[in-house]
Symmetry: C2
Subunit: 404 residues, 2 copies
């Protein structure tokens, strides 16, 4: 199904327009609208520094109902005080006016530089423009997907169509994220800048949608890291129009919906890792038989976040000592004398001992777009997978001169 | 006192020789010997993957008495199983024979690549050579300091002479460390590759030396981070010869000794940050009035370890949003609406609001060898300082091709 996109689920329109916020002149204001009052759920950053749109968005999604999402790229509206909150609310009011709904039914998002006030004149014109540019076709889906990008080099989208009984349901999403990626998003109340917007035409309650989104996020967006720098703005939101008429109420329907949601979220998360700032490859870290799932997650994350591991991966260097030592520094049970480490399927370390391997051959195998690191701990039944990218000179170029 | 060095404290000899372990052909085996059975204390890595020399060293220092330290660079003897432990013990036996002491009074250290067995033939000849080359002058102190280096570009040493009553006491140290630097060393029993060797001619008990070393390490070595990758081999050891005859037994003497020890350890830690792989500057992160010292430390470390902050520092970019957001992701109380952030003394963020500043002027001020980030939390009385370096393309060059 090559043509599925964000607007394939019935009942949605979108727009992406140029408001002049990005210096590049690319699309920077997006509007996603549901024809009806959608069942909605969202997860947000757990950083203690929370951008204004996240504060407002948490309130607006609390009742589980949304009509629209309004997004700008190029400015994060974070660390902007009371004025920032007023600006975020004004974005909602403008979008609500354009859509014909209440401001509380609009979720705002912003991404870009921290600590600058939003250029409200540009945004006001932009949101009005976006409201006039809404459409239901793939072109509009793509414009929306483009409008949310910052340092991203590629547009990120995933979509699926699945059957529940004899009926088809569609679920789709777009996201952005390339740097400042180390999301640990949770439902509001407990409390990444990655942004993800998901649409579905399933008929599902906000409570169930919330639970399934939280589960899907933990195995997808929350498992991707570029720089482990959790953002002030990370947001993933799903809107369910109900337009398919297919109720997600049976165990079977819930299962099918969860599978589709997980699949789309994992695809989007993988696309973030692949487009990580300066990335030339995706590194998948799979930790198995750890003491617990949480232990596995901590170990996988410690490996994924080591600059030494990431540089070795960039250099196609089977320097596995960096991987084992990173596993050992995680706050989790780990015993090098029991573990087995493989790189691209080749065992390099087992039971506390190095295993001889053909370093040239393995180095050649590491010159791939997809690298798999698998660590078997033999301590329990915990497992976790996370995705990262290599660390290149290009990462430094991108980040040493983003502001000035 | 420009001429103080590792062997200024009375009662010590040292050697550094070329054993051919380093491909560069530079000195790679060091021997430090106390004339008498020294009072000794050491702190070691808390990684769960522990190199063989650390396992052996923990046992040997447990009784608080050492005659010698034997070190090789170029090979970490980590992840080398039972054979690795035998090799570490053999290093001690060889050094003991050269010195004329028991093997249990020798602490072994190794640093370099993980997962390779030590080239024992080279080491055997090397240690014998070192035993024959021992001397008491500055040249020997420098040779020892050089023999422990790996990717370091500079030799690291610090020394002081202080008075207790009317008598002079000397305390000195050398260290190595440039990459895989994120030590969190603790006394053995609880359980960082940076290596530090300290000498003093004070007369002090092992118990007091242990306690003062642990305190000094937490404010110095454990407060420096290059890549937050705690090594399998980190070790800091202090040997007290007692040759000055000055007892550290009064509160006043203990205070003076602690001040000297802290000063030397902090100088060495700062030198590690300055010589961090690819570093062009040292960034000091000072967190004040946090909820607790531990909270301050977590916040300082989150800032120091953010690749985004480190790249901004490399680019002389006053992109303070990265600093505030890094503080917010630390597992510690933090309230952006209360804090004050200064860069090189210029307030950039206060009470949740951006503060206008001259970006070009501040960027020019960031082009310094020493950059100071100060974050006042206004939540309590906790404080911590840590040192890191900027992240440059050179870091990637060094680490993408170290192994192959």
């Amino acid at each position: 199904m090559p043509d599925l996109h964000l607007l394939s689920p019935h009942g949605f329109r979108a727009a992406g327009i140029r408001a002049g916020i990005k210096l590049s002149g690319k699309p920077d204001v997006g509007l996603l609208v549901c024809d009806t009052l959608a069942s909605a759920a969202a997860v947000f950053t757990t950083n203690k520094v929370i951008a204004a749109p996240v504060k407002v968005g948490r309130e607006h999604v609390a009742a589980g109902r949304l009509r629209a999402v309004v997004v700008n790229a190029g400015n994060a509206n974070a660390c902007t005080g009371a004025r920032g909150e007023r600006d975020a609310k004004r974005m909602c009011a403008l979008a609500a006016h354009a859509v014909g709904c209440e401001p509380k039914h609009v979720l705002p998002s912003s991404t870009g530089i921290i600590g600058h006030h939003l250029p409200m004149e540009k945004l006001e014109r932009g949101i009005v423009d976006a409201g006039r540019s809404l459409g239901r076709d793939q072109e509009h889906a793509l414009l929306f997907a483009d409008s949310i990008l910052t340092t991203d080099l590629t547009r990120k989208a995933a979509a699926t169509e699945f059957r529940i009984g004899r009926q088809n349901v569609r679920l789709a999403g777009v996201c952005k994220g390339s740097g400042m990626i180390g999301p640990r998003m949770a439902l509001p109340g407990k409390h990444a800048t990655m942004l993800a917007y998901l649409t579905t035409d399933a008929l599902i309650t906000p409570a169930l949608l919330r639970r399934l989104l939280a589960e899907a996020a933990s195995g997808s967006f929350n498992a991707v890291t570029v720089d482990d720098h959790m953002s002030t703005n990370d947001t993933a939101v799903v809107l369910a129009s109900g337009s398919s008429g297919v109720k997600i109420d049976s165990t079977r329907a819930r299962g099918a919906f969860a599978v589709a949601l997980n699949e789309v979220c994992r695809s989007l998360a993988h696309q973030i890792a692949a487009d990580g700032e300066g990335a030339t490859k995706v590194v998948t870290i799979a930790v198995k038989s750890a003491a617990s799932d949480d232990a596995a997650r901590r170990i996988a994350r410690a490996i994924a976040n080591s600059p030494l591991v990431k540089c070795a991966m960039h250099g196609n260097d089977p320097n596995w000592g960096r991987i084992v030592s990173a596993a050992g520094l995680a706050e989790a049970p780990f015993d090098p004398d029991r573990c087995i480490l493989t790189l691209q399927g080749t065992v390099v370390f087992r039971n506390g001992q190095p295993v001889a391997f053909d370093a040239e051959k393995l180095s050649a195998e590491l010159r791939a777009k997809e690298v798999r690191v698998e660590l078997t701990c033999r301590l329990g039944k915990g497992a976790a997978t996370c995705w990262t990218c290599d660390l290149s000179k290009e990462y430094v170029t991108i980040n040493a001169d983003y502001h000035t």
